[in-house]
């Protein structure tokens, strides 16, 4: 609610609620601009943090985040390609980003299946790093050939992450992909605990770990790809928020997954409100989440009792 009233209209800071009755423009700003943007921020935060928590559990590795399996860099490459090839039309940028994000996961998965050494986690991580690096090179080439007056700033701004272009139309594009994915993550919140065990142990508990992991990875990828296609690269949410949720509540997915969704949503909404209020020109969302995320992560690392094994 507070985020709805925060912004730079009619003046920087809080909009008095009474103004909504007397100023039709204030009401239009609130309902037409701030409300869809706030809802999108909540969805972006919930999707990134929820996906991060689930991926960390599936890979039994607290340092994993959605960027690991080629999703984020895939989205960045797709967006850059659309900006150069299709004159940066928003819908095409989003579709292209989502498409290449999904392709990033598919290629990572295929490469991991063909690696002939190591466990499944190691193979997928190695494949994800390699696929992300290929995409990064592609983004580098696209930036090199981009028109420096027009296309290059568009690519750079998209990669900094932000919700300035989100209205009701974009939100409706986001909902059908993100909501079902979040429902899957929430519905399998206890099951995710089982899948954080070694494959052989999860198998001995009567599960089919490969199939169930794939379902959860697909849900996390769809959610991440969809929000990245709208918001650009919003870093650190998927890494930091799961740690905070586990620390404040419990490591068990019954608590850590729903709490990650809530904390992630609140965190991104807060960063977005700050980003569009502090300065006359908007501060890109990705810069703020990375700043707070990285500082928060350093604070977490140096706390007594915090440890990451293996």
């Amino acid at each position: 609610m507070a985020a709805l009233l925060v912004g730079r209209y009619p003046q920087p800071g809080f909009m008095p609620p009474a103004l909504l009755g007397s100023d039709p423009l204030a009401l239009r700003v609130l309902l037409g601009l701030r409300l869809p943007r706030l809802l999108a921020a909540l969805l972006v935060g919930a999707a990134l943090a929820g996906s991060g928590t689930v991926l960390q559990m599936l890979f039994a590795n607290p340092l994993v985040e959605p960027g690991l399996v080629g999703v984020t860099q895939g989205a960045a490459f797709g967006a850059a390609l659309a900006i150069i090839g299709f004159s940066a039309q928003p819908l095409i940028v989003q579709l292209c980003a989502a498409l290449f994000a999904a392709a990033g996961l598919a290629v990572s998965y295929t490469v991991a299946r063909r690696i002939r050494f190591g466990g499944w986690v190691l193979r997928l991580v190695l494949a994800g790093i390699a696929v992300s690096a290929v995409y990064s090179s592609g983004v580098g080439i696209l930036k090199y050939v981009a028109d420096p007056m027009d296309q290059l700033p568009a690519i750079t701004f998209w990669m900094l992450g932000g919700l300035w272009s989100v209205g009701w139309h974009e939100l409706l594009f986001l909902l059908p992909a993100v909501l079902p994915a979040l429902v899957v993550l929430l519905a399998m919140r206890w099951r995710a605990n089982l899948l954080s065990l070694h494959d052989r142990v999860a198998f001995s508990l009567g599960t089919t770990p490969g199939r169930e992991r794939l379902l959860l990875i697909a849900a996390a990828t769809v959610a991440t790809a969809a929000v990245t296609s709208i918001a650009g690269i919003v870093g650190w949410v998927g890494l930091l928020i799961p740690h905070i949720a586990r620390r404040l509540f419990r490591a068990d997915g019954r608590w850590s997954i729903p709490m990650s969704l809530l904390i992630g949503a609140a965190f991104v909404a807060f960063c977005d409100a700050l980003g569009r209020t502090l300065l006359p020109g908007e501060i890109p969302l990705g810069i703020l989440t990375s700043l707070f995320g990285a500082v928060g992560f350093i604070a977490l690392l140096v706390r007594p009792g915090f440890r990451i094994e293996r």
Binding site: L205, G206, A251
Partner: protein
């Protein structure tokens, strides 16, 4: 004589063509209610055989049957309610509580989207009590010592209420006191009707808790039978490839070599 819970008929297994066969035409019957030790040197195929009994690996030839049915014809959930595995060690990356971890043993009794209810929590407490570890229920799993962790892993398996418990080198990380405690628990489990198959390379472990021993070397069974017969100097010398002597100390067997 009780009937076989697991029958292994002429099983062959290799991880890949280059490395050749790990198990060769292996036959073994595990009797219901027994504690069977798969005893042999490192690399003799003990853990591979355990993984075949779990269904985690499929034989290249031959067949593994559980209670008379081919293992791979049994549904996953049904397998989870019948057979359980206590691994040698388990990497636990997150600070689950002991109770939350043991509760995972209830998975075969839940559907994919189901959350455990109070009945399942009580079953997890019961499994912890059975192993004498209920006082640790709220402790974090990453704070457990190796011995405590081994007992908690066993409790997680017991929460599955299995008829067959597979234990991979259960005492390999344990000191003397914890080994004694764990082996006593294993004997008690067998008395309560659970069949136990454990792998070990230490004849002392087999002599302390096993009713039957299968001696393994290079992917084959050299001898399978009652513990007293298996732990002879001649058979152990063949199994380990060195001359050993066996000394009876009470009900235990001490093995020495020159």
């Amino acid at each position: 004589m009780s009937s076989a819970i697991v029958s292994i008929d002429n099983v062959r297994f290799g991880y890949n063509e280059q490395d050749g066969l790990v198990l060769r035409d292996l036959c073994l019957e595990i009797r219901q209610g027994s504690v069977t030790a798969l005893l042999g040197p490192n690399g003799s195929g003990k853990t591979t055989l355990l993984n075949l009994c779990l269904g985690w690996l499929k034989p290249s030839a031959g067949e593994v049957r559980l209670e008379g049915r081919p293992l791979h014809s049994i549904a996953r959930k049904q397998m989870g309610r019948t057979v359980s595995l206590v691994p040698q060690d388990e990497h636990l990356p997150f600070e689950y509580s002991v109770l939350e971890y043991v509760l995972l043993g209830r998975a075969p009794y839940l559907t994919t989207l189901q959350i455990p209810d109070a009945g399942h929590v009580e079953a997890a407490h019961r499994a912890l009590r059975e192993i004498g570890a209920d006082q640790w229920a709220e402790r974090g799993v990453t704070t457990l010592s190796a011995g405590e962790k081994q007992l908690v892993m066993t409790a997680r398996s017991l929460a599955q209420q299995p008829r067959l418990l597979l234990m991979d080198e259960p005492s390999s990380h344990l000191d003397l006191a914890n080994t004694a405690r764990l082996l006593d628990r294993i004997s008690a489990l067998a008395r309560s009707g659970v069949t136990v198959v454990l792998t070990t390379h230490d004849p002392r472990v087999a002599s302390a808790c096993a009713t039957e021993v299968a001696l393994m070397r290079e992917g084959q069974i050299l001898f399978a039978g009652p513990t007293q017969q298996a732990l002879s100097a001649a058979l152990l010398s063949r199994t380990y490839g060195i001359d050993v002597e066996v000394h009876a100390v009470g009900r235990h067997r001490m093995v020495t070599w020159s």
